[in-house]
Symmetry: C2
Subunit: 99 residues, 2 copies
């Protein structure tokens, strides 16, 4: 079954728009990881129910096994290592659901 | 610009799988609201970074104006009124991002 994978982030107050632009650019490499059907990332539009979350990555994978292979993939590891410092990791929410 | 709209939910401990099945069925009507390109809903697979969130709805809309028209739409209002009691509203996160 296909899976919707999401990562919901809260940017640190010190994170600049240039740094976010670099994160955005870096997400394009993630879409090349096998099993990823599509992947989108963006800044959340202001809304009182956002609960302080500022950015979200949403992707579709061919299966939950594809998500399990994505997580340790070198391209994903490099993305996390290169960009995690811009977000409050304690707030990050990672969810997967089959549909 | 197209928009990814997400609603991330935490089901109440009293919510039954039958009630969730009814919620899932009810989401299909939401996909018929004008401007909604696609809409998916599901139970999040167990994962320590889910932070207690149990279900998520992810949709694509043609534009942020389409999302603004979706929120007060009668079909959406009926969905919320008919299903909100199954989730902890204080935890619900609603996000939209353009991509």
């Amino acid at each position: 079954m296909p899976v919707i994978h999401s990562a919901t982030f809260s940017a640190l107050p010190t994170t600049t728009s240039e740094q976010i632009a670099a994160v955005h650019a870096a997400t394009q490499a993630l879409a090349t990881i096998p099993g990823c059907v599509w992947l989108k990332f963006g800044a959340t539009l202001p809304n009182e129910r956002a609960k302080g979350y500022t950015h979200q990555l949403v992707a579709e994978f061919e299966s939950i096994d594809a998500v399990k292979a994505y997580v340790p993939h070198p391209t994903h590891k490099a993305f996390v290592e290169g960009n995690i410092q811009y977000f409050d990791s304690s707030k990050t929410i990672i969810l997967d659901f089959e549909y």
